[in-house]
């Protein structure tokens, strides 16, 4: 066998093996999530409000949900209203009123043992949409 032939064979084997290992290395560095074991959850497109956050009109209570049972007497009420609304929160034990300049409000409320009915009302001076109210029933039991 000529030397050139031997070199060609060795180079053929070497480059074949090199290419194989290169491809193996690349495929093993791929992220785990791309393995077709369990399909990734499909992302639901978020439908934006036509008016946008700035122009939100009305009342929305983000937290807590109605009929929630809690074991802590301190409750953070988080909501959304149109800007510069007067927010009135009425409970069995007291009432709160404040101007919501930003259109987002947070208020800490103290719950009583058992059932707590929280009535949230917003009034807007400029927009003639009238008042909007939401009633939440929250149950507080410390031993639950």
């Amino acid at each position: 066998m000529k030397n050139e032939v031997a070199i060609t064979i060795v180079l053929g084997l070497f480059f074949g093996a090199l290419l194989a290992f290169f491809v193996i290395g690349r495929s093993q560095n791929k992220p785990v999530g791309r393995h077709p074991v369990i399909s990734k959850p499909t992302e639901v497109p978020v439908q934006k409000n036509k008016l946008g956050k700035e122009d939100f009109i009305g009342l929305e209570i983000e937290s807590p949900q109605n009929q929630t049972v809690v074991n802590n007497p301190q409750l953070k009420l988080i909501g959304r209203a149109s800007k510069n609304s007067l927010v009135v929160i009425q409970t069995q034990k007291g009432e709160e009123a404040f101007l919501d300049k930003q259109g987002n409000f947070e208020k800490n409320l103290k719950l009583v043992l058992g059932e707590n009915d929280i009535n949230v009302t917003v009034y807007n001076q400029k927009i003639q949409t009238g008042e909007q109210s939401k009633l939440l029933k929250i149950f507080y039991f410390p031993d639950r």
């Binding site: 053929g12 491809v23 074991v37 049972v69 043992l113």
Partner: protein, 233 residues
């Protein structure tokens, strides 16, 4: 000689193609993929447990309309005429009275028709209730003042649902008004109440005027006035 050379060259490339064929198979057994699968299953289990815990924390409340030996029927929604039955066990079920932020154990025999009960942890009506709380019912709502009777110290209020109420303003009624300058809340008196003002109020429906129950006449526990000037200024 040439045949041998070609055989060796083909052999070299064959190694490459064999590796490629192996790689083409889905690598389901790789440790990272298995770990991911286990994590997802764990998350699903945790989510299910949280859901069940939430269900267990459901509470029903309402007025007693019927009491039988081992069963109490509650009217949970007056408007929808929704009724719920709760099963009680003389040995297991404990009864408590809620008052002033505290609970006190009471006997089952104390429970009577028209009492307001709160029953936590009940998912199905055929499940025995562990704990039953008796409490004073109250209603929190708002409306517009449509009449003020200065002689009898009563006011008429029309809610957004067009329900009309007559409320007695008593010495014990906690009276508050929105300060239009500061938008804070300050003390008020009967003289501050006027037609057209918005009123946020709390009353006990059990204290209805039993002589005239159709009139929706109650003593008022507390109120907050939003003066009509707030909307006109």
């Amino acid at each position: 000689m040439k045949k041998t050379l070609y055989s060796l060259l083909i052999g070299g490339w064959l190694i490459f193609f064999v590796r490629m064929t192996v790689l083409a198979q889905p690598n389901t057994a790789s440790p990272s993929a298995a770990g991911k699968e286990v994590r997802i299953i764990k998350e699903k289990i945790a989510s299910k447990v949280a859901e069940l815990t939430k269900q267990e924390k459901k509470v029903i409340s309402g007025r007693v309309i019927e009491i039988k030996d081992d069963q109490i029927t509650l009217l949970t929604d007056v408007t929808l005429d929704e009724k719920k039955r709760i099963k009680i066990d003389p040995e297991l079920t404990k009864f408590y009275q809620l008052a002033k932020g505290k609970k006190r154990e009471i006997k089952r025999s104390v429970i009577s028709k028209d009492d307001y009960l709160i029953v936590p942890g009940l998912i199905f009506s055929n499940v025995i209730a562990n704990t039953v709380y008796r409490a004073s019912p109250y209603v929190v709502s708002s409306g517009r003042i449509v009449a003020v009777d200065k002689k009898n110290y009563t006011i008429d209020v029309l809610t957004i649902d067009k329900d009309k109420y007559t409320f007695d303003i008593e010495k014990t009624t906690r009276q508050r008004i929105l300060d239009l300058k500061t938008l804070g809340i300050k003390k008020a008196g009967f003289a501050k109440l006027k037609e057209g003002d918005r009123l946020h109020f709390v009353y006990n429906p059990a204290l209805i005027d039993k002589k005239n129950p159709q009139k929706n006449h109650y003593p008022l526990m507390r109120y907050l006035i939003i003066p009509q000037e707030y909307f006109t200024n």
